[in-house]
């Protein structure tokens, strides 16, 4: 989106109402002249009436009137009329005699793709006039830049700036033009100040507001951009450039529809709409819009760059070259075109190609500062941190306004405080705290994932894989997408690089997340990052369950609900489930349905077919062809088979989902607790009426799982344990794999706890954990119980389950240390006491002493002695530590 802005500047400028800028200046003198009234109409968005009124002007107002009429026509997309109304007034094509009319004419011609004609008009004005108007200078300079004549452009733009410096620029409109000149010359601070000045001089200068907002948007400063567009819309809520701008900032489709209702030929609106459609996988519809754009303006750089990028992404290189040459013909050496291609490749995870295009853009124009950001960003995603950072620094030095660049560089500041750890196949950046506490558990998991999944897929990715674990979720988001808000995501894989939120900041099963992300490493690298998102996510979620039986997602209720509501997407459209998700529940279901497709393939066709399908994505071809080659059927037939399998699955689940119940809502992007929102909402009701309602629901439908569960919960709260148990057991039998919170198994365990029946309490907790991967407390209770019972295998298992959720809590490490002591695993004891030492906040002396004892038992005399000395330095009279010191010294002497 960002690179589109410069390409549409021309359009915005034409759309801008000169008369609005003049409105305040002239108001006092104009009284209720035709010009004044026309300007008021234009400012209020009554474009047709304004066009008519402008044409009623005469005398000294005539030129302004004609320009106003042209702009009013332009605002409604009547480009022909906009052009003729000024062209007809330029007698004998003597452009220099009518500089303002000619400038307006040239702006229109540029906007409709006649840049050569526009250039000729500007040249005629410049040749015939020693002091052309400021607007002429800036628009001419802008066009020269577009035409690849950078040094001439700079010279002309500088003339406008110098005129301002000489104190000869007075009106708000001209100040805004000087701001634009500064922007085009790369003087962003000046541009910002001048836009401020222009809007202060005339708060009704819509063009200045919108251009200023465009500048912010180009720099990824969404909040200031939105504010600027909103300010323009508060003055004129039919101002198309601002409506389009808002849509670009917040993705508001309604703004675009409104813009197109006002101006059905608005090129920026059509382009933005087409981009939104493309993002939602509606490529055919998008293409229709792009075609419309090119018919209106065959020199639309944004549209051509998007089409060229699509061609290049799909390896239709002849087509790409064709687009490239088209652009070369009217805008030779256009770095932004290549930058847009680089950006498109980066957004499609094709980082190697993105880097190549970004380099080409910089070769075309070494002062294309955004190119350094693009290059740096994509290099980082390839794990080339040093070169990436160096390029970001060049970008920042020359364009410090760019929020994306500065954000990315700030993350490097964070990374400088991080530790770097390495295992056989991985390089990991993480905070010192995570290095101390998480690494002992992360390292074996990573290598296990590598061994298991590389063998299974018979594919060894290029390594080392760089893993970055961020404590701060904003750092994670910036590192991942450049901006500090990334929504609910908790881990992102770029192929060779994986970014993660530290488990210290999460409430989720971090091990499942790591496994999931590493699976992406394999599928992305197997296909040169060409995997469609649905299949990549589907396999990663599917491999969760393969990794550990209690990982993965059981969303039986969601599946039944989606089937009932006809919300299952055709396999061919699964990507739109991700791109078109309106909320977390939609997104969560997109993951789940993708997983189901993978599960369907693996169970019905075999795992090998799944791998075959993945390999198909290494090549450019249509999905139908891929499915045909792998499954010997077209994608529609495959989809029908999948639907049949789903129907069967829904039948097997055999529960009724009431329309009044809402989907469970989860934390940690599917890896954390999923709250049973219906049960939580039910708590707002009076117990008696809720019970009555749920009983009637059960009478209506005896397979109403939620009704049984909610009734059980209410009865439990009322301490009617016997009756509660009956409903909860029925609910559990109905859907034993239910993992929402609270679940029947959880409430049943609480009933038994209240009754003092520990054996049954533990039994239900075990049931609970068979399907639930993120319950720390239950795992700890079971681990303690297993330790009491002397069942060391289960102790180890449940401690591991707790650590998967939260490795930062002392109690789990204390328990593991006790376990290590019990089984005489001195090395394990050392590991745990080392972690405990890092976690300890209130009793460091005790923690040091424990660690010293563990070292001593493990034969690490020198570490033992040093730690006990640390302890005694603070607490010299601590007798347990004194004894340990003597033991260590004696053993040392004996050696």
């Amino acid at each position: 989106m960002r690179n589109s802005l410069r390409s549409i500047i021309a359009c915005i400028l034409v759309l801008a109402p000169l008369s609005a800028a003049y409105a305040q200046d002239d108001q006092d003198q104009a009284g209720d002249s035709a010009l004044f009234r026309a300007e008021q109409l234009l400012l209020s968005g009554s474009y047709a009436a304004a066009a008519e009124m402008f044409q009623m002007t005469d005398g000294l107002d005539r030129t302004d009137g004609l320009i106003g009429a042209s702009r009013a026509y332009f605002m409604t997309g009547n480009y022909q009329q906009a052009e003729s109304v000024v062209a007809d007034a330029i007698e004998g094509d003597d452009y220099a005699r009518f500089p303002l009319l000619s400038t307006q004419l040239a702006e229109i011609k540029r906007a409709v793709g006649e840049s050569a004609e526009a250039l000729a008009i500007f040249e005629a004005v410049m040749e015939g006039l020693p002091e052309p108007p400021v607007r002429t200078l800036v628009q001419y300079g802008s066009l020269l830049q577009f035409k690849g004549q950078r040094s001439d452009a700079y010279r002309i733009l500088d003339m406008a700036v110098q005129r301002y410096n000489s104190g000869l620029v007075f009106t708000s409109e001209d100040v805004a033009m000087v701001a634009l000149a500064s922007w085009l010359m790369g003087n962003f601070y000046d541009a910002n100040s001048l836009f401020d000045e222009a809007t202060r001089a005339n708060p009704n200068n819509l063009e200045a507001h919108a251009l200023w907002a465009d500048l912010f948007l180009e720099k990824y400063n969404a909040s200031d951009a939105e504010r600027g567009y909103q300010e323009a819309l508060e003055i004129n809520n039919r101002y198309v450039p601002a409506l389009v701008g808002i849509a670009r900032v917040v993705g508001d489709e309604r703004s675009l529809q409104r813009a197109l209702a006002i101006n059905p030929n608005s090129i920026p609106a059509l382009e933005t709409y087409a981009q939104l459609l493309m993002m939602n996988g509606r490529e055919d519809e998008a293409m229709a819009y792009f075609t419309q754009v090119l018919a209106l303006n065959p020199e639309s750089l944004k549209t051509l760059s998007i089409l060229a990028a699509q061609a290049a992404l799909n390896e239709r290189m002849d087509e790409y070259v064709n687009y490239y040459e088209q652009v070369q013909a009217f805008s030779p050496g256009n770095a932004q075109f290549l930058g847009d291609i680089a950006d498109a490749f980066g957004n499609n995870y094709r980082f190697t190609e993105a880097v190549a295009y970004a380099r080409a853009a910089l070769e075309a124009d070494p002062e294309y500062w955004q190119g350094y950001t693009l290059l740096g960003n994509n290099l980082i995603r390839l794990g080339e941190e040093e070169e990436g950072k160096a390029n970001l620094e060049i970008g920042f030095e020359n364009d410090p306004f760019n929020v994306l660049t500065s954000n990315m560089l700030k993350v490097f500041d964070t990374l400088e405080t991080y530790a770097t750890l390495e295992s056989e196949h991985f390089k990991v950046h993480m905070s010192e705290r995570d290095a101390d506490i998480l690494w002992p558990y992360l390292e074996p998991l990573l290598e296990e994932a590598w061994d298991t999944l590389t063998e299974k897929y018979a594919y060894e990715p290029e390594g080392p894989i760089l893993i970055e674990v961020f404590e701060n979720s904003e750092d994670f988001a910036v590192r991942s997408v450049g901006l500090p808000d990334i929504g609910p995501l908790v881990g992102i894989c770029f192929g060779k690089v994986v970014t993660l939120i530290s488990p210290d900041t999460l409430t989720a099963n971090w091990q499942e997340i790591v496994w999931h992300e590493f699976m992406h490493v394999i599928t992305l690298q197997m296909t040169d990052n060409r995997m469609p998102r649905w299949l990549s996510e589907g396999i990663s979620v599917w491999e969760e369950r393969e990794g550990r039986p209690y990982w993965g997602r059981d969303q039986g209720l969601d599946l039944v609900r989606a089937a009932d509501q006809g919300k299952l997407l055709p396999v061919a459209d699964l990507n739109s489930g991700f791109s078109g998700a309106r909320n977390n529940a939609d997104l969560s279901f997109a993951y789940f349905q993708s997983y189901l497709v993978v599960d369907y393939i693996a169970s019905q066709y075999g795992f090998d077919k799944l791998v075959e399908l993945v390999k198909q994505y290494a090549f450019i071809k249509e999905d139908s062809e891929r499915f045909s080659e792998v499954f010997a059927m077209d994608i529609g037939e495959f989809d029908a088979g999948f639907r049949g399998w789903i129907d069967q699955r829904v039948e097997e689940i055999n529960v009724y989902v009431h329309t009044e119940d809402v989907p469970d809502e989860g934390e940690g992007h599917g890896h954390g607790i999923r709250e049973n929102s219906s049960a939580i909402l039910a708590e707002l009701y009076n117990n008696a009426s809720l019970k009555q309602h749920m009983r009637s629901r059960i009478e209506e439908n005896p397979r109403d799982f939620q009704a049984y569960l909610q009734l059980g919960i209410v009865l439990f709260k009322e301490e009617a344990f016997e009756e509660a148990r009956s409903y909860l057991e029925t609910a559990h039998e109905m859907l034993p794999s239910y993992t929402g919170y609270p679940s029947p198994a959880l409430v049943l365990s609480q009933i038994y706890e209240r009754e003092g029946n520990r054996e049954m309490q533990l039994q239900w907790l075990e049931q609970l954990l068979e399907n639930l991967q993120h319950d720390y407390g239950s795992a700890m209770i079971l681990a303690e119980a297993a330790l009491e019972a002397g069942n060391m295998e289960r102790v180890s298992y449940y401690i591991d389950r707790a650590l998967q959720v939260d490795p930062y809590r002392q109690d789990v490490h204390l328990l593991k240390a006790r376990y290590a002591d019990t089984i005489n695993d001195t090395q394990l004891a050392v590991t745990e006491y080392e972690v405990l030492m890092k976690l300890e906040i209130t009793d460091p002396v005790e923690a040091r002493t424990n660690l010293a004892e563990a070292y001593l038992n493990n034969g690490q005399l020198s570490e033992a002695k040093q730690n006990v000395l640390y302890a005694l330095e603070q607490a010299p009279s601590f007798q347990r530590a004194q004894q340990l010191l003597l033991d260590a010294v004696d053993k040392e002497a004996a050696q």
């Binding site: 209130t842 000395l869 005694l872 607490a875 010299p876 007798q879 004194q882 003597l886």
Partner: protein, 352 residues
Amino acid sequence: MPSTNKLIMFLATLCTAISASAQDLAADYFLDRPDSTKYAVIMIGPAVGETNEERFRQWGLSLHDILARDYGYSSDTITLLYNDGEAAFNGAERIDGVTDREGIEQALTALHDRVDTGDQITIYLIGHGSGAEQEAKFNIVGPDITGIEFADMLDRFDRQDIVIVNTTSASYGFSASLSSEGRVVISSTRSPSERYDPVFSGYFIEALDGRNGDRDKNNRVSILEAFEYAKANVEQWYSEQGRLASEHAGLDDNGDSMFSLNPGMNEADGLLAEIAYIDTLVDDTAGLSAEALASKARMQELERSVFILRGRKAEYLEADYWREMEALLVELARATARFNAQTATTADGVTQ
């Protein structure tokens, strides 16, 4: 544990690490004599809402019981003022009065009549607070009391050591008014803007419970240790809740009304709090043999050497420091072992 260790430690530390004026100050207060008595006054104010009421009550009663159980206090040395005095719950018999102006005045007057020079009085305020600066108040039954008014009430205890642990919301302004030379004041909040009910009190009491806060393992809990324990746990609590901390406890013991957030040896505050213990020193030298007394003296001398060396750590190369420290600590460990052997109790209870 040898009873005089802490004093020795403190004096040793003074020799090297603190200014002369601070030394003088510390030399006059909290002398920790076995013949002194320690008193506690627990004031529980009225609460907004049942949850708060239950929580304040539970804190107050727990504190009462812990002091009695673990620190040698008795119902004679603890004064518990509770809300309006009306209590229909288990443990209500511990209540000595009402948390209103009259109740507070009566309790302090009665206490004044009983205390001797050098006794220590620790006042725990549990409940809500409000207002800021000089208008900051402890919410009690009837008209609330300001910090200045409360400070006036405390002025009579000019020959006793005073510790005030103010755990109320918006406690800062009230606490600042109580600051005075030789007095240890803890505030659970550091500014008037911290107005939410703090969790500090719960952790402060937890520090005392079972001597959890005993960092240096001398089997005693100082006010500084309890403060550090509570502060660390408060920080962790907010971190675990994923919330920005709405309370930051501070401690002032140099009388300047400026509360240190991290009091300690190298800070403006902390020197008095480090030697202000919750319990009374016990003289345990009675009945020791001459050899045991000699061993004890040697232990005390060695401990003192450890503290002196620790205070001069910056003057040493790392390796030299630890070499000397090891030598001292090994000798201390051996001296302790000798002392333990000399004082080991036989099966029939006779000390050898």
